[in-house]
Point group: C2
Chain length 261, copies 2
Amino acid sequence: MSFIGIFDSGVGGLTVLKALKKELSHESFIYLGDTARLPYGSKSPRTIQHYLKQNIRFLEKPGVKALVVACNSASSVLEGDFWDGIPIYGVIIPGAREALRVTKNRHIGVLGTRATVESGAYIAALREQDAHIKVTQQACPLLVPLVEEGWTEDPVTIQVLERYLRTPLHAGVDTLILGCTHYPVLKKAIATIVGPHINLVDSAQVIAHQLRNDLLSGKIAPELGPGTTHIWTTDANHAFQEVGQQILKPLHIDEWGLADI
Amino acid sequence: MSFIGIFDSGVGGLTVLKALKKELSHESFIYLGDTARLPYGSKSPRTIQHYLKQNIRFLEKPGVKALVVACNSASSVLEGDFWDGIPIYGVIIPGAREALRVTKNRHIGVLGTRATVESGAYIAALREQDAHIKVTQQACPLLVPLVEEGWTEDPVTIQVLERYLRTPLHAGVDTLILGCTHYPVLKKAIATIVGPHINLVDSAQVIAHQLRNDLLSGKIAPELGPGTTHIWTTDANHAFQEVGQQILKPLHIDEWGLADI
């Protein structure tokens, strides 16, 4: 049996695991949340690259046939489509592709951590497919701590969101990429502020479709199931399992483990 | 020459370095900010202990005669007054001592990160000196990201502070321990909310006095100066140096370095 490995700095990437599991129920998944070193969004590319290597080494041990980097900040330092010969999927390119598919006025907004915004990875991915696309970026460093606090519909969070959303809205975007795995949790609040005419793009669904296609085409060897799900973290944190179960239900998790990295 | 080593997860401990440098200008200091793995306040005791060991190993290399753990979350996992035979100073016991000195109604509030509050370290330190002292704790996980964003006098920060301060104020404390090196940056905002009759205690000054006494008494061998100041971080982060210089000015820094840990 060979796993699909998923990596995120914390709990946010479980939204990606859930989308994958729904689409690919015969497959077995191993998820690693690097909770001992989160968040990644404020760290330098050099440090993120160093962590990414260590995390992938951990995921490779049980045997993986595909790797998904659910963390946007880590995806922003990825180079190429393979890692040690294993297909590797970041969230940036699928997110960019989906945004380009739905935008009408060719002006896309990107919400992300400081690391993601400063990397310019979304701009590069968007421009590679459409050299004339207009992009307005906004770093939103307070959203991750607010989500982790569970203040998802709090007046404070609404004020912070209104402030962050002002720039892309004034600039005139018709599509917003939720460029961090934590942000889909705030989708309802964001939708209320921006109104029904702005498209909100998150990468989980897009990645699930792409992996499904690559399994069907034989780029990745499919399993016959039944699939299992293993979740590991680098720090022992009760909150992770609680919030994680909330995000994943009614999914059955076969194992919760603590990884020494 | 032998250094006084100071450790914090990030930039906040520089307030402690500044207080020490002011009091002990003949001494040489080496500061380590573990910016690649911050924040500590949301991590488990096991992980914090692991990081602490690595950081102290780094500080020991150039030769230290005393260690100051400026980070409250890391101080909360310290055991004993020596590390490899070197005197080690946490911020919890000095903070508790100062709070006990100034309280009149014997009811003390503690503001801290989740790790510090859950450790119960301040309660233990306070009760060891006064078994009947009343303590009301409040975890304030959003304050560190707000300070790091520079939103120190922002209406959002005021609202968050008002919410956090409600519990200790209603409980009737007359003294508040600012139990995180980031919080002194919010001292003015906190003072405005709680009014002039509540004592605000931060540990920087207290630690500086204690170290001075231990140098005078010969517990630590004093230097004749001129003292030098070396600052290292585990991640390359321009913001650290900018915010750091702001906190430290007009202090002269002899070296800014990047530590591989």
